[in-house]
């Protein structure tokens, strides 16, 4: 554990958008990365509106303070973005926002992977649905 700066402490203590969604909803994409053995598991849910804008986002995270803070910041950043815009969020955006110590960079990387995974999940769901139609 590091002597975190106040931004991390604050994001950890009052995380935004904690929660989950109905995974079976067609408009919900789920990102699921990490493993308990490595000490971090991130689950992120996005729900898009008709214009493919992220209307809601939730997360649950198993991980250290930086992992939870990164998750929270990620959800705040993507809220309201289109999927194309959300894809452009990088780990650096998150690390910068929190001034993450270098040793904690992997937490922001995981957050980027999670949103990427969630978007892919949503898109593949649609493809499957289209295929069925």
């Amino acid at each position: 554990m590091n002597r975190y700066n106040e931004k991390i402490n604050e994001a950890f203590r009052n995380p935004k958008n904690v929660g989950s969604m109905d995974e079976t909803d067609d408009n919900v994409g789920v990102g699921f990365v990490g493993s308990p053995g490595c000490g971090d598991v991130l689950k992120i849910y996005i729900k898009v509106d008709d214009s493919d804008r992220i209307a809601d986002v939730k997360f649950k995270t198993f991980g250290c303070g930086s992992a939870i803070a990164s998750s929270s910041v990620l959800t705040e950043k993507v809220m309201g973005l289109t999927l194309e815009e959300a894809k452009k969020i990088t780990n650096k955006d998150i690390a910068d926002e929190l001034s993450l110590p270098a040793i904690k960079t992997h937490c922001s990387v995981l957050a980027e992977e999670a949103i990427t995974d969630a978007i892919e999940n949503l898109i593949s769901k649609r493809l499957i649905k289209k295929g069925k139609e």
């Binding site: 554990m1 904690v18 990490g34 053995g37 598991v41 991980g63 303070g65 992992a67 992977e113």
Partner: protein, 424 residues
């Protein structure tokens, strides 16, 4: 607890409240120096100015007297002759002198290839010394795998002893788990097999009884800052006729085993601390046992999936090493910000490596990251632990609410069967 430390305890508690300081629950990492000990050290700085190595004047003689009476006091606490004790800078140095020194001495005496044994849960001061010796062609090492409950299997140890085994090194009380190894039984095995026995007792003083006349041990390491004494001093018991070669060279102080000016004031402080620790040992054990039971009962009865690491009986009651399944250790500590503890999680180490001790006894990889080491000491009050238990329960619930693993577990998913998407 005697009256003195009762007072100090209150003072510490008051100070902690006044300055919004954390409740200290990391008494295995180090202990606060007792005010009584700090005072004798301070007084000695003003009164005793000589170097014990100076034999031509009263300042040197006074210094020698201070050192020798300190040595006697410590000898009495652990029941050995004072001349069997040398002062060192701490348990790290004591372990190094013991292990390197025995190996060196045997090789200097003509042995071609020596075999030494330790366990896989020892402190780094032992393990790293073994790793270093591993590099030498004439040294062979064995690391006994400790059982799941954190205790050594005597049969495994017995079977590991070979013709050329010269040394077995085992820690008495493990600093992470709090488990107590069967030192008496190992000592008898060593005696029968004619193998030197080194015991790292850094975590033992003031917690369990140490009587060197009742056990067979050749070398035993101590560190003052683990029993409310000053940092920067330790001791090494060297049984008569046990030959160790020095690893540091100079003025041949401390029987030539440990060159360097003997730090008079630290010796005085260490002796005072040892004396007080021994005085309170039994009453503290009982008090700790009671606090531990209450705390564990409270936590275990309110929360599911909490695991105590290390044997529940063969342990010091001061230590509770707990895994809080499905939530990560550093996050727990950050939420429990009024308490100072440590965790085996990777995130709470500078190297991002999780605890090798929990791994060594086969704690599930995922659980290692969820562990907290809570270690109580003489300044820990019942109120502290009541508050801790309550805060811990609330915190665990809060964090589990945020945990995807907890959610999965609750919905019946077998986490062992999940295919994790991990880039590590």
């Amino acid at each position: 607890m005697n009256i003195n430390s009762e007072k100090s305890s209150k003072r510490l508690a008051q100070e902690q409240n006044a300055s919004e300081q954390q409740i200290y629950l990391d008494y295995s990492a180090t202990t606060p120096c007792r005010p009584e000990v700090a005072k004798v050290i301070y007084d000695s700085y003003l009164k005793c100015i000589g170097n014990p190595h100076s034999i031509t004047h009263q300042y040197g003689w006074q210094a020698t007297d201070s050192v020798e009476s300190s040595r006697k006091i410590i000898g009495k606490v652990i029941n050995c002759e004072s001349k069997e004790l040398i002062f060192t800078s701490g348990a790290t140095e004591s372990n190094n002198i013991s292990i390197q020194g025995i190996v060196k001495s045997r090789i200097e005496n003509g042995m071609d290839k020596v075999h030494i044994i330790t366990t896989n849960i020892e402190h780094k001061a032992t393990l790293e010394t073994f790793h270093e010796l591993d590099k030498q062609d004439n040294v062979e090492t064995t690391y006994i795998e400790i059982e799941k409950n954190g205790i050594i299997d005597l049969q495994k140890l017995h079977d590991a002893i070979k013709e050329n085994t010269i040394l077995i090194s085992v820690g008495w009380v493990n600093s992470e788990l709090g488990t107590i190894q069967p030192i008496k039984a190992i000592g008898e095995m060593c005696k029968a097999k004619n193998v030197f026995f080194h015991v790292d007792a850094a975590q033992a003083v003031g917690r369990i009884k140490i009587d060197l006349q009742e056990i067979y041990v050749n070398l035993m390491s101590f560190s003052a800052h683990k029993f409310y004494g000053p940092k920067g001093i330790g001791a090494l018991y060297i049984k008569k006729k046990t030959r160790v070669s020095p690893i540091v060279f100079g003025g041949r102080q401390e029987k030539g085993i440990r060159s360097g000016t003997v730090p008079v004031q630290l010796c005085v402080g260490m002796a005072k601390a040892a004396e007080l620790a021994e005085l309170e040992r039994e009453s503290e054990w009982n008090r700790m046992k009671n606090l531990q039971e209450k705390t564990l009962n409270k936590i275990m009865s309110s929360l599911e999936d909490i695991y105590l690491n290390g044997d529940s009986e063969q342990r010091i009651p001061h230590n509770m090493n707990l895994s809080f399944a499905h939530i990560e250790g550093e996050a727990i500590m950050m939420k429990l910000k009024n308490y100072a503890m440590s965790s085996a999680s990777a995130c709470s180490s500078t190297t991002l490596q999780p605890s090798y001790v929990l791994e060594a006894i086969g704690v599930d990889e995922g659980l290692i990251h969820t562990s907290l080491r809570i270690v109580m000491g003489i300044y820990t009050t019942e109120e502290d632990m009541d508050n801790f238990a309550n805060d811990a329960i609330r915190t665990v619930n809060e964090l589990r609410e945020m945990s995807p693993l907890w959610e999965m577990k609750k919905s019946g998913v077998d986490l062992k069967k999940v295919k994790w998407h991990s880039h590590h």
